[in-house]
Symmetry: C2
């Protein structure tokens, strides 16, 4: 990666929300562009509810019910502001830009909102004011492309933005876990077509991460080893489910995959969170991430509806991550065959018990065959 | 309920699968009807995979990839066998019928297959032969109706079938949890339109039930009380989320509801599993179950896509249920507004962290207003 320098600048939108530009060239002056929309002050009122039967927090965000839903292409709020049409991004161009979601699922009332505890001290207290943060990450000013079509240089900039925002949000006392992710495809409920992802700063450790922490603790107590290291070593040794392996990263279909096509991408040198990836890891990540997305898109005759989910270590109130956790990407599609989706029906949605119709070894074989020629591995 | 007598008889399909008729009148002779299809022997090969990162079992059922998918109405395999068209049900009529699923997600190799342990003794052993059982429950021979349109008498028969099958499956050493459920609506991925549900006998305790057990144990240790009893008492006292209450049952939207419209229906006298409901509870359940389904269908201008999920106590290898667990029904729809569904995207599918756009108190108010006049409560 010849040029990995990123230039960061930030400003405020008309309603007070923060906006941060990650530019690939200096002195763009974008942060100075003024948001000229007559917006009301930003005061979303999310709430947290504790479910005592499952021991989990649920976010209640009633204001989201009226969020923007599949606007026509000429009304996209994620385009730059051009020709007098004012969007969420006041600048007339951008490389990568991050801003606070106007319709957040999680949010802090100003100056309040501590992180949610694992379980309320008094189980009768089941409601708390919302806390946390929801951000939008636009990958490119080009409305009509997708992540898989970005240049490696641009993906490298996106990685910088993820890492930078992960560090900033982890440092906040009201945030316990930072989650960069992308939903792609109307099949997943995507409401805006412009290539973008999101970052959630949860005020609690999300259930999936909490269970991984528990499993890692139990494994450490039983074997003295690190669970993630041992799983990665097992998968590399087995080999049959490995999809791609570079100098710094390995991608494999998990032996117990839940989704028709699902990959876990781990750095070979374990780090708890994205800010702790070094330059060499970030450079290769940009290439291997693109290879994987392109392989997913090549599986069937239409672009893959996918969820791309960064798993990072939970952080304590000072922002220190759980050192035993291994940051990794989970990438999966709901498409199980041409024209057929995997639905989460009675077993998955009702019992959280997953049924998979595709053998993980077959999924890995098809994904390997779908990799672009000249892929990183 | 004037007539609650049920007449049970059973037979075998051409490939060896079991079929059980629950009739509302005696001597139908239905079990004697011979299945004349030239079917190959029934030898599905499901497999269990253990995910060490999450500490959960996943079922792998590759043979399901080619299951019957939305056949035309005149090809429905759940109709009775009439006019020379041979279906899954050899009899020319039925009231309620249960049979082994031809495309099961879980299945036992004959004579083998113990229940899966909570965690494998050796985490390197991540694969086991499939175990468990998948059954189909047809609620009526009438292809063109739905559960909500059944008579209370018929729902009472369905309840008998659920309870009878729950007792039979719980007694099997390879089954740790019995789960009767219904998926309704193409939005949920339903592949057959005929009114029917399913029963899964899991060889492991499904994650959702395991977490409820953990929460109940922790609550018992902390307070000496039963978690389910205390939650039901709290909701009745709060009142604002109660949707319907009869002499024996109460239905409420949980304070931390995950789905746009979601109800938990508990018997006021706690029982661990359906077979332990007495006649008075079963009679009222038939009526209140119908009231709730009709309220869901009245929410919007089209029938509700819903999942109806019976939660029962896990059982030990002798079939004895966890006495601290409370059997209850969870009923929820994915529809959040006319033409809009709740999708499980990045937060739910990636992190198992739920975001809800509808305040549970508002959902309860709308459901109460949607109840049929003369409802049980």
């Amino acid at each position: 990666m010849r040029n990995r320098q990123i230039f960061r600048s930030s400003g405020r939108l008309a309603d007070g929300r923060e906006i941060i530009y990650y530019d690939e060239s200096p002195d763009t002056g974008r942060a100075a562009a003024k948001d000229r929309r007559p917006l009301d002050p930003f005061t979303p009122a999310a709430e947290l509810r504790y479910d005592p039967l499952l021991g989990e927090w649920v976010a209640l965000a009633a204001h989201r019910q009226n969020r923007t839903f599949l606007p026509p292409p000429d009304q996209c709020p994620l385009d730059p502001t051009r020709g007098g049409r004012h969007t969420e991004i006041p600048a007339d161009d951008y490389d990568v830009v991050v801003f606070e979601n106007r319709f957040p699922s999680l949010t802090a009332a100003p100056g309040t909102a501590p992180a949610a505890p694992a379980a309320p001290a008094d189980p009768a207290i089941m409601r708390r004011p919302g806390a946390g943060r929801c951000e939008v990450v636009c990958f490119t000013a080009d409305h009509d492309t997708s992540f898989a079509d970005l240049s490696p240089r641009r993906v490298r900039t996106v990685i910088e933005a993820w890492a930078d925002r992960s560090a900033a949000l982890a440092a906040r006392p009201d945030i316990a876990h930072v989650y960069p992710f992308e939903n792609r495809g109307v099949e997943i409920g995507v409401t805006l077509q412009h290539p973008h992802g999101q970052i959630y700063g949860y005020p609690f450790v999300p259930p999936r991460i909490a269970r991984m922490q528990e499993a890692a603790r139990a494994h450490r107590a039983r074997t003295g080893g690190n669970l993630f290291d041992d799983v990665v070593a097992d998968e590399r040794k087995a080999g049959v489910r490995v999809v791609a392996e570079g100098e710094h990263w390995v991608a494999f279909v998990p032996a117990a995959a839940r989704w028709p096509y699902e990959v876990r991408l781990f750095p070979l040198r374990r780090v708890p969170s994205l800010p702790m990836l070094d330059d060499a890891q970030r450079d290769e990540l940009a290439r291997i991430h693109l290879d994987l997305l392109r392989a997913f898109d090549a599986l069937f005759d239409t672009p893959a509806p996918y969820i791309s989910a960064w798993h990072q270590a939970p952080v304590d109130t000072s922002g220190t991550p759980d050192a035993d956790f291994a940051a990794h990407l989970q990438l999966f599609t709901l498409r199980r065959a041409p024209g057929k989706l995997k639905y989460l029906a009675g077993s998955e949605s009702g019992m959280a018990a997953w049924i998979n119709d595709i053998a993980p070894e077959d999924a890995a074989r098809r994904l390997r065959a779908s990799l672009p020629s000249g892929a990183a591995s």
